[in-house]
């Protein structure tokens, strides 16, 4: 007789979901993700609101990803109403997004995932067992937040990023502080990389799934998707390609690719394109169990990119600027970006009064659902015969490898 055992609430992930393990007698025969987070219906909430309000509301989809949601929504809105931002604003936004990337990755690695590799149950035990590592991680995390605070006005739900520009341009002194802080964590990042690379795999080797990433712009930005099979999908066709539909087991829409295997997105996907040669030897495989490694390398890349951006901003000389005046206009805009967890799409349509008449937001965790379920199935097969609790733990760890952000997924 088949029986469903549920992991009530997935822990150490953002949002509310569970894993259902299907048991046949003593054996676990199948598993899948169940996302029961309550939908806030953002796509409906946004309809009827003015274009200036969209990003402020949309960023509330998720706190961890609020900066990237904000920037993505702004880009979509601006392209719809025909606003071009200054180069300085562009650089500042990019910097804020990198700040978010640093914070999010540090949070995942040091606060949420690391306990899996040390066989403890969470951050509080980590503080006891590995206080140095945790503090190192928190130090890195803090820099990510500081970037978002200085550029965005606040670490979560940055309000200083506006349609057409920025509320108050940070002062050179503030950017210099950031520069110093970033420099001060470089060593910690390097040390963290060694630490993470020294951790033993806790999951069996699973198959490598196809993936896709945003490309065609500076890191994390772009106008198209490139898949592992080197296909290119331009922004305008991405929605169709992702082919979202509603499934009974999830409050998040699920992507159905034309191909039979689902694609996955995220740090590992971004990195798999080109693993830095110095680290290549550490990637025995690039299957999902290596995602922690991918994340820590990306963390380093984000720190470097942030340093580069600050240098550019300071070299150019910071200029006071007022946001470009935007006039309400009819139009449609799509933005494609890489959020910490992968491909993020915001798309809006406005009427001639600048009022939103359609909104579509596709988030990385929603896209990843298929891949997660696929991996879970595979894990169950690979661990066939193992003890229920072992499988249950492994299943949780596996899902955590995707660093799901369930608020994003459901929104």
């Amino acid at each position: 007789m088949k029986r469903v055992s549920k992991i009530d609430i997935m822990t150490r992930v953002e949002g509310h979901g569970s894993i259902e393990l299907i048991r046949d007698g003593g054996r676990v025969v199948d598993a899948h993700l169940n996302i029961f987070e309550s939908p806030r219906l953002f796509e409906a909430l946004l309809v009827g609101r003015s274009f200036v309000e969209i990003a402020d509301i949309a960023c509330r989809i998720c706190s961890i990803c609020s900066t990237v949601h904000k920037v993505s929504a702004l880009q979509a809105v601006e392209s719809a109403v025909g606003v071009t931002i200054s180069r300085q604003t562009g650089l500042l936004r990019e910097l804020a997004v990198q700040g978010g990337q640093i914070e999010s990755h540090a949070l995942h690695i040091f606060c949420l995932a690391l306990p899996d590799y040390l066989n403890i149950n969470g951050i509080q035990q980590l503080a006891k067992l590995e206080p140095k590592i945790l503090q190192m991680g928190l130090k890195i995390k803090k820099v990510g937040n500081l970037i978002q605070e200085i550029v965005g006005g606040r670490a979560i739900h940055p309000f200083n990023l506006l349609v057409g520009g920025i509320g108050k341009v940070p002062e050179a002194g503030q950017l210099q502080i950031l520069e110093d802080c970033l420099a001060a964590v470089c060593q910690d990042v390097t040390a963290s990389i060694s630490f993470v690379f020294g951790l033993d795999d806790v999951l069996p080797l699973l198959a490598m799934l196809p993936y896709c990433v945003v490309s065609g712009g500076p890191p994390l930005f772009g106008d198209r998707l490139t898949t592992s099979a080197a296909t290119t999908i331009f922004a305008s066709s991405v929605v169709a390609w992702l082919n979202e539909s509603v499934e009974l087991y999830s409050n998040a829409k699920v992507s159905h690719f034309r191909e039979t295997t689902p694609y996955f997105v995220g740090p590992l996907a971004r990195l798999a394109k080109s693993i830095p040669s110095e680290y290549a030897s550490h990637f025995a495989d690039t299957s999902i169990r290596s995602s922690l490694k991918a994340r820590i390398i990306e963390l380093q890349q984000a720190v470097e990119r942030a340093q580069f951006l600050i240098k550019q901003l300071l070299d150019n000389g910071l200029e006071k600027e007022m946001p470009v005046m935007a006039v309400p206009a009819q139009g449609e805009g799509i933005s494609l970006m890489e959020a910490p967890r992968g491909v993020l799409l915001h798309s809006y349509r406005f009427n001639d009064r600048g009022v939103c008449c359609a909104a579509n937001i596709i988030t990385p965790t929603a896209i990843n659902q298929g891949a997660i379920n696929m991996s879970l199935k595979e894990l169950v097969a690979a661990m066939d015969g193992a003890d229920y609790n072992q499988i249950r733990t492994a299943a949780e760890i596996l899902v955590r490898c995707y660093d799901p952000c369930i608020s994003c997924a459901v929104h």
């Binding site: 009530d8 609430i9 997935m10 822990t11 150490r12 992930v13 953002e14 949002g15 509310h16 029961f36 987070e37 309550s38 939908p39 806030r40 219906l41 796509e43 409906a44 909430l45 309809v47 609101r49 003015s50 309000e53 402020d56 509301i57 509330r60 998720c62 706190s63 961890i64 609020s66 949070l107 606060c111 306990p115 149950n121 969470g122 951050i123 509080q124 035990q125 503080a127 945790l134 503090q135 928190l138 130090k139 995390k141 937040n145 006005g153 606040r154 979560i156 739900h157 309000f159 200083n160 506006l162 509320g167 108050k168 509603v246 499934e247 009974l248 999830s250 409050n251 949780e396 608020s407």
Partner: protein
């Protein structure tokens, strides 16, 4: 001193209030010493409620039956139940279109498919349980969170704020965006405590801390009208975070 036992839970929300806590990077190690984060699914496994809690900090609004069950359970087990953030206090962004047919909104997103179980209009915690204290903000200010936690150690709940955003804005000697830039700044009717975060960067207050209890809305609307803001637009703005603004 005894370590206080805490439960930290998120309902319908963006996890920002919980993240604000995890963003106290400098203080976290000390917090871990002073408190037992016994139930904290976002950061600790497993998620099991057992025994009594000195305080339950709850983020988010209520929009599903199982959330209500969790909330009642937390209430039963906790000395203090503290609402964390604007969603928990007023409903927050999720309640933006309360008053409209929820099923129609749902269909806008999901079509005819019957996913998303049973949900209802997002509501603040106080609709169903007694709330002992609240820390407002979307997200809450770190300092307020830390002060609230420190107060708990001492057996004190935070003092309610009864002044608007403008008060701190003036203390900071900012340019008044409402008067000098004719901007739709909600400062006069929104609960202060954020240090006028947004106006300090020349960004009008969007009202993320919710309505000030004794706000003079009639006069504020009059002033906004004089500045040329359509009443409907102002009210919509006001309802971004707290749906109970009605007039």
């Amino acid at each position: 001193m005894r370590r206080l036992r805490l439960a930290i839970a998120g309902l319908t929300a963006c996890s920002g209030c919980q993240l604000s806590l995890l963003n106290c990077e400098d203080e976290l190690p000390e917090l871990f010493e002073k408190f037992e984060f016994h139930f904290f699914p976002m950061a600790c496994s497993p998620a099991l409620l057992t025994g009594q809690y000195d305080a339950a900090l709850v983020e988010g609004c209520l929009s599903m039956p199982h959330e209500n069950e969790l909330l009642q359970e937390l209430r039963r087990r906790s000395v203090y139940l503290i609402a964390l953030g604007t969603c928990a206090i007023c409903g927050g962004v999720a309640a933006l279109r309360n008053g409209e047919e929820r099923e129609l909104l749902r269909q806008q997103v999901y079509g005819q498919h019957l996913v998303a179980g049973e949900t209802f209009d997002p509501m603040p915690l106080q609709n169903v349980v007694q709330v002992d204290a609240a820390v407002s903000g979307c997200p809450p200010e770190k300092q307020e969170l830390l002060r609230m936690l420190a107060g708990l150690v001492r057996g004190v709940l935070p003092v309610n704020i009864d002044y608007p955003v403008c008060t701190e804005c003036r203390m900071k000697e900012n340019l008044c965006l409402l008067m000098e830039r004719n901007a739709l700044c909600l400062g006069p009717v929104i609960l202060g405590g954020c240090g006028a975060r947004c106006p300090s960067l020349a960004v009008p207050c969007e009202g993320c801390r919710g309505a000030l209890a004794e706000a003079n809305l009639a006069e504020a609307l009059e002033i906004y009208a004089q500045k040329g803001f359509d009443r409907q637009i102002v009210l919509e703005r006001l309802r971004r975070f707290s749906p109970e603004w009605q007039q």
